[in-house]
Amino acid sequence: MIVRILLVILIILAILVVKEKNNLHLIMYFSIFSFTAASVYFLNYALDIALAEVAVGCAFVPLIYLITVSKQNVFTVLIDKEFLHGEDYQDNDLYKKLVFLLEDFCSYYTLELKVVTKRVRYYPTVQGIFRPGNIDLIVSLDEENNHLVITGNKSNIMIPRLDKMTRKYKNIDLIEVDEYEGLDE
């Protein structure tokens, strides 16, 4: 009898998982689902499976799901270290515009902004930057025209959305590159 009630609870939880939109709630429902399934195993005298299910399905798997979902909303921007050269870069007009643009963009799409600084010219290809650090954007300075150049991956769906926001700034250019192209032609 108890097994049947638990199985009905399992069905309800499975329906909740299929219907849920929020990823965090999804993971919590899955954790409860695994715990209920472990109870069913226990009541059917499968003790070692119940132990394994509680350890793996109820704790370890939701943990790695949580890590994935928490990395999902991070928008990583790499800013060229040579642009940030000097002590008064925070008073720079371009820098203020850039910070305003990025914060505006991230709050509109509920992303979490993460800034990394490196010297871009040491990297021979774009692929060497985008792939290992999970970088979404590269910001570097074009010294001839005093323009900021934002480089984004062509495949990324966020770049056209950022492009719409960038159009009202005259000093900021956005270019889309394929991952396998070089940085300077």
Partner: protein
């Protein structure tokens, strides 16, 4: 018999979620649900009524067969490692395409 039918219902619900939804994370969770449903069916099938714990000298009646349980533990561990691999690919997909929706990724690829 009712228990096995209910477990099969869980299997069907998970399969529906796998087909219908376009979220990558939800697809992987539905795979996990499928696995749990199969394990439930396996355990309920191999347990004859009136049997008891598979511990020697403890049970008054005939114990359940411990061999299927030993097999299923392997399945649980393999399922967890497959989940970890799939989630690692998910992180890479998200940073390449900027989205976790199958439909948007397919449209982008066209």
């Amino acid at each position: 018999m009712i228990e096995i039918t209910l477990s099969f219902l869980i299997f069907l619900i998970a399969a529906y979620g796998l087909i219908k939804d376009t979220n990558v994370v939800k697809s992987i969770i539905c795979l996990n649900l499928l696995q749990t449903a199969v394990i439930l069916i396996f355990i309920l099938l191999t347990r004859p009524s009136g049997s008891s714990l598979p511990i020697h000298g403890f049970s008054p009646t005939a114990p359940v067969d411990p061999l299927p349980q030993a097999l299923i533990i392997t399945a649980i561990v393999i399922g967890a490692s497959i989940t970890a691999l799939a989630l690692m690919m998910t992180v890479k997909i998200f940073h390449y395409y900027g989205t976790l929706d199958w439909q948007e990724i397919i449209e982008k690829e066209k």
